[in-house]
Symmetry: C2
Subunit: 366 residues, 2 copies
Amino acid sequence: MNKRELDTPYVLIDLNKVENNIAMMQTAANEAGVALRPHAKTHKLPELGRMQIEAGAIGLTVAKLGEAEVMASGGIPDILIAYPIVGVQKIERLFALAQKSRITIAVDRFETAEAISNRMREDRTASVGVLVEIDSGFKRVGVRPEDALALAQKIDALPGLTFRGLMTFAGQSYDAVDLDGIRSIANEEGVIAAQTAAWMRSHGLPAEIVSVGSTPTSKFVARVPGISEIRPGTYIFGDLTQVSLGVHELEHCALTVKVTIISRPSPERAVIDAGTKVFTMDGADSPIGTGRGYVARYPGITVSWFTEEHGMLNLPPEAQHLEVGDTLEIVPVHCCAVVNMFDEVAAVRDEEVESIWPVQGRGKVR
Amino acid sequence: MNKRELDTPYVLIDLNKVENNIAMMQTAANEAGVALRPHAKTHKLPELGRMQIEAGAIGLTVAKLGEAEVMASGGIPDILIAYPIVGVQKIERLFALAQKSRITIAVDRFETAEAISNRMREDRTASVGVLVEIDSGFKRVGVRPEDALALAQKIDALPGLTFRGLMTFAGQSYDAVDLDGIRSIANEEGVIAAQTAAWMRSHGLPAEIVSVGSTPTSKFVARVPGISEIRPGTYIFGDLTQVSLGVHELEHCALTVKVTIISRPSPERAVIDAGTKVFTMDGADSPIGTGRGYVARYPGITVSWFTEEHGMLNLPPEAQHLEVGDTLEIVPVHCCAVVNMFDEVAAVRDEEVESIWPVQGRGKVR
């Protein structure tokens, strides 16, 4: 099927660009001598997870237990759930998952680890790895680095868990004003993580994993001595937020939303069949002056505002020939959020649709 | 099942409050002598659509064809698709739908209506009603009122379609600063719609439907002479945006998100298991100083910021006893957007879960 035949709105994933993005990040990890564990919250697709593994990734990262279940069922052998698992229902699911797959979780509180340990020791048919999550400046979750050793020692003593090291996420890199700012945050993230891990090891703890990095910081933090793995996610597609940060090229953005013009109220205005229920309101306006998206082939179009199911475009003179029924492809501000709005996406090579993939990880809020 | 047993994040729908909200809007419509055609984009649930019909609504409004298909399958007998239907695939679906259900569509362009008419006349087993959509100041879709008569006359002449009147949506009411501002916009919306319909009738057109109103404007515009129906949606739940506008009481907000505290990084900070992939970033911060949501029973808590799967709370002294594992219920900024993130929701009466409803209309972007 040609991509022309896809009704809109539809998410198109350009496989040539995806393969290139996967290869570039794998090369960066290889050259820095660190492992790559991509974050699957971006694509939510086992198919792309397997492509990342085949290219050399050691496993995947996920945000939610439900995403881990999907990825494990989809053949991913090694999964880090970079999220606190809290509550008896989730612990039961974690136990079932750990019986089949190699699972590591992030923990920032002794009682969270203890509750999981208690379940694991009930019948000793499963074990999970544990990373202590430290806060390297984002102020989201994670213990202070100075508290990490004590927590690690207590976790290391718990049955049914295997202490494996630490992780951190320097999300403040999204607020950096330029690449130097990102580099500086990445270095700080890396140094804090590496030093804390070394401190743990000097006390006899097997802190083999030192896991850091998002798409903005990964290529920088990977080169900090003592780092063992990076966890970028968005790099597989790229979006206007990453372009804005200077860490992804617009022409390498692999995910677009195909839309149709449904109204032409005036020569300068067009309305498309996608609004916040497709593009979401995540993230800041495009840095390249195109508003809430970038319209391929028409850099002069501004995606000016959304309602739930309508997107309003301002058309420059060279785009005013566009009429109702014409289709456009739009690079979004935040690709991870867009994938999460769709039940299925189209994997496209050149003009051909190679596959329609159900977004198996979509809506896995629990 | 008690609602305590629901794992988080989970959407809770308070049936007592929903029934009250449904009754209040139906009463307002009845007292004004207009029909009520609630917008189902808010709840996306045939179960609630049927409750609205049973309470007196004449049918439902939807935004997308896919929502219409879900509601028709769910037993809703009369549906307005308040959206331009463009493209051969959608027209074919519209044809199939119109064979089974009474469907009316909104059109703001002759060619859009003509393409649908062409399909309907191919085999004359279905017909759809048509409303001309006019722009009453929102500048989204719709023809100018002065162009509505000419469009209506051309549509009225098309076979397979039944011209039935006009509709408009005064979305600019969401930018009003107070109730007087909303009333003024509602009056203008109503007068423009009623006058345009009267003008059509004076030219012999059967403009029987004059359809206006959203949750902010409905109670005002319903009283403008010449209006035949109102289309509010959000009123069934209410949310912080409607509270901010002064058209919904906080204690009548029927939709909350049950969440769990998963981290307590400091005495003043807690992190919950829901971020933008549950609450979205739609709409402005809460007007009552509580940020991106309102935490029931803890009015002093601020929902300060979200990442995709984390929500950050600032805790006042009276909430600092909250610990990891404790659950909270949060009224969102924009309820329509939240429902759309979930595969299922819980219908709750007092403490008991009466039903788990799949969100059948979720993700119907096409």
